[in-house]
Amino acid sequence: MQLSREALLRAYRQMKLIREFEERLHIDIQTGEIAGFTHLYCGQEAVAVGVCEHLSVEDKIVSTHRGHGHCLAKGCDVDGMMAEIWGSREGLCKGKGGSMHIADVDKGMLGANGIVGAGAPIAVGAGISCKIDGKGHVAIGFSGDGACNQGTTFEAMNMAVVTKAACIFVFENNHYSEHTGFEYAVGTNKDIASRAEAFGMKVWRGDGTDFFSVFETMREVLDYVRVPGNGPAAVEFDTERFFGHFEGDPQRYRGPGELDRIRETRDCLKKFRQSVTEAKLLTGEDIDAVDADVMEAIETAVAKAKAADRPTAEDVLTDVYISY
């Protein structure tokens, strides 16, 4: 199905926003001003955006430690996210969570997560809630190729099947869990989707470096899961991460020229630009205009984050409970 010009521009803008958000963080982190562990999503934008462009605020997503892309794609405020990563009081989580714990439950974004494998069971609960509500909404749990090896993920898959939760397991296979290759760590013949299949789910596979592959695959997946009574599904996207596991990773596990090669041949933004301009759906100028707009948005977000109020010692004590 052909996307409208507006839809194409919007999808591209979302991907570019994630890319530049991350590229900028990569630079700013080197100054030492940003605290903590930061895991950049750069390279995987087509997955977050190709999934979330199908979703409304009533649909839920559950993210991972590499959560910035999912958050932005689900509509979390750019300024609020940047401020959070900078540890500001005006951040989305008041500086209490930081990069690994960004959440905006009102937007259907149930949190990035520092515990690998914690997300899938949460997505099952959210998917059961969607099923109970019966309005065709769904919950999406993003997991990495590393997270797919957690018992929690296995339990979640089986439980989703037996409860017929309206839930989708999206596996982003970027070939690495920290410093370990998925060919070593995933025993099922280099394949994650087949595990989900063995649990009794319908599964799909797609190219996670191609927006259109993700988007069209997800249309089918969502058409299926939104039908009451169908239960869960799973999809595996083959993708790439352009930076290290975390900022500061020496990346000794990469082969020679690997990063240059994936940036050259597996870049979802380059692929998008090429395919829409070749098909004459958008012009180079259209895309350049989005790029300029995004760069400005990132500049603004950083300026605001730097100028934002810092948290104080008293702030440590708030928000543990609603009442106590």
Binding site: T180, Y184, V320
Partner: protein, 337 residues
């Protein structure tokens, strides 16, 4: 003696024990690193560099790089230990006991008792704990509070590289399951370490790191250094502090604490975990019960507040016990006549 970092003391002890005893095996996530990648094995050697070179030296049967599966890692350690091996398993972050607690608490810790004393379970579970890196609520916790209360586990919290050496060797040679807590902020600290390949420090023997007559300060880990700074400052004012480094929280060296309080009559316990049901409340209760007559002031605990560990620099700094807060507590117990 040689000088080395805390993390080097961990690694060199593991190497020496693996050389000595073929039953010692290491397992954990990225303990080799680079498995199944173009870069090849040994890409990292543990994210804390505490297993660098082990794979090359001892091979893949004894140095096992695992998938991200903490329950299975802890369970495999239990199974290895019941089958005659001496596993040294690594949890990358202590916070991940959350994922794997059943295997630690209901399995490892309880086997000997449940099996009527007829088995041994010589597993060491190493884990990096503690705040100071702005790693937020799920990567910064001090977990000794949870584990110390579990019958069947021994809990070790070394402060210095020299103690790492002596205590880790004891842990590996011990026939009971031992939790070995390594503070992230201490990995780079250097100190004198014994070269004796049989140097061991027995569990339940605290170390007196400062001696004085007026106040007893009890701590271990990163915060011990803060306590020493306070003791040194007060020494200049003519106030003497006993600073006791517990080394192990289970077993606990009650005698060292009680002997000291009998002289000083004043106790401050400095603890990195949250205050409720904590090491601090435990030791304060011990002293109230067994050294009541010696007390000149109520025993005090210095803990973080009853909150998760926050992310932002300002928040984490405010969260952690500081030199200032410890000094204030010491002055408070001194203010009672």
């Amino acid at each position: 003696m040689s000088k080395m970092m805390y993390r080097e003391a961990v690694l060199s002890t593991i190497v020496e024990e693996m050389e000595r005893d073929p039953n010692v095996v290491v397992l954990g996530e990225d303990v080799v690193g680079g498995m199944g990648t173009a870069g090849g094995p040994e890409a990292i050697g543990g994210i804390w560099s505490t297993s660098v070179g082990l794979f090359g030296k001892f091979g893949g049967d004894r140095v096992i790089d695992t998938p991200i599966s903490e329950s299975a890692i802890m369970g495999a350690a239990a199974g290895l230990a019941l089958s005659g091996k001496r596993p040294v398993a690594e949890l990358m972050f202590a916070d991940f006991i959350g994922v794997s607690l059943d295997q630690i608490w209901n399995q490892l810790a309880k086997f000997r008792y449940m099996f009527g004393g007829k088995t041994k379970c010589p597993a060491v579970i190493r884990m990096a704990y503690g705040a100071g890196y702005n790693a937020a609520a799920q990567h910064s916790q001090a977990v000794h509070q949870i584990l110390t209360g579990m019958p069947g586990l021994k809990v070790v919290m070394p402060t210095t590289p020299g103690d790492v050496k002596g205590l880790l060797r004891t842990a590996i040679r011990d026939d009971d399951p031992v939790i070995f807590l390594e503070h992230k902020a201490l990995y780079g600290v250097k100190g004198e370490v014994s070269d004796d390949k049989d140097f061991m420090i027995p569990f339940g023997h605290a170390r007196l790191s400062r001696a004085g007559q007026d106040v007893t300060i009890v701590s271990t880990g990163l915060l011990l250094g803060f306590c020493e700074a306070v003791a040194d400052k007060l020494a200049a004012e003519g106030i003497g502090c006993d600073v006791i480094d517990l080394r192990t929280t289970s077993p606990l060296d009650e005698e060292a604490i009680l002997d000291s309080v009998e002289v000083t009559g004043r106790l401050v316990v400095v603890d990195e975990a949250t205050p409720r049901c904590s090491l601090a409340t435990d030791i304060c209760a011990l002293v109230a019960e067994k050294a009541f007559a010696s007390l000149k002031a109520p025993p005090l605990g210095v803990n973080p507040p009853h909150t998760p560990v926050p992310f932002a620099r300002e928040l984490e700094t405010a969260y952690l016990p500081s030199i200032g807060k410890i000094e204030a507590a010491v002055r408070k117990v001194l203010s009672y006549r």
